[in-house]
Point group: C2
Chain length 173, copies 2
């Protein structure tokens, strides 16, 4: 299955900056069979588990989080960059290679005790994922798993979210 998906992931050298090899999921998204394989595999993994909300990370996490939520019968809550969510929010900042970024979630998106599946397209250094876990936990939610389509295993992002289950469909060294 991973090989089938890898054929639909395009390598773009030097994007967004020199020395970075970008894994482009747009051919996978555009190929209905490939996209269906991703959503169905995740559906099989999570159906029967108690999941109250899927927290999808802006913006490529939206692409996979909402079809999965639809399939599982679970509502979706967005986690976004600062200033995008209109209602009351909490914010978590995290370090980037150069500078800092932050993620926000609506205060009413997760209730205490909610079982939350976090969804993003790609795990790199784990900064965004770590902030996402913190936001869910600050609202009293419990993270069922953090789920990615792609994992860049060589960057060891899992070490930033130790203690939380992590799953990825496709892994690159």
């Amino acid at each position: 299955m991973a090989d089938e998906l890898k054929r639909l992931i395009r390598d773009i050298p030097d994007f967004p900056k020199p020395g970075i090899l970008f894994r482009d999921i747009t051919p996978l998204l555009s190929d209905h069979a490939g996209f269906r394989l991703v959503v169905n595999t995740l559906k099989q993994r999570y159906e029967g588990r108690k999941i109250d909300k899927i927290a999808a990370i802006e913006s490529r996490g939206f692409l996979f989080g909402t079809p999965l939520g639809y399939q599982l019968g679970v509502g979706v809550v967005p986690m976004r960059k600062p200033g995008k969510l209109p209602y009351k929010t909490i914010r978590e900042s995290y370090a980037l290679e150069y500078g800092e970024a932050a993620l926000e979630i609506h205060k009413d998106a997760v209730r205490p005790g909610d079982q939350v599946l976090i969804m993003d397209d790609l795990l790199a250094t784990g900064g965004t994922a770590s902030a996402a876990v913190s936001l869910v936990e600050k609202l009293g939610g419990e993270v069922v798993e953090v789920c990615f389509v792609i994992e860049l295993a060589g960057l060891n992002g899992r070490s930033r979210i130790e203690g939380v289950p992590v799953f990825s469909l496709v892994s690159y060294d």
Copy 2:
């Protein structure tokens, strides 16, 4: 149906700036029954039509475009703000109230003759929608319809995309 959806759309006054009444779709997204109603209604509208691609506009268009694509068995192509798409792109700029914005699409996202459904969450003044239609047509695609969850009818965004079919689930004066 529109009333049921309106109960799940939250009004946020003065966002993102004073005088703007923002229509917040996050309660709708978080409510599985409401979200399902949106996707199923759109599925019923478009199934049986010839649609080769759904072009979803960053980023709230992603939330509805991908579950609809999954349901219809159609691949999804993203239209994004400048600099986000990693492969070869074309760009269309458009005027905002103050300043200018632009939208990009991958050159290989649409092929000549493709029947394309454009999906976004909200039609306001129509600038983004107009740019999206131009991008699809520049690549040789034909716009089947431009589909929105919400239309702010008082802003008359439809006038910016005359000649192209427009559909919205919920309309506000």
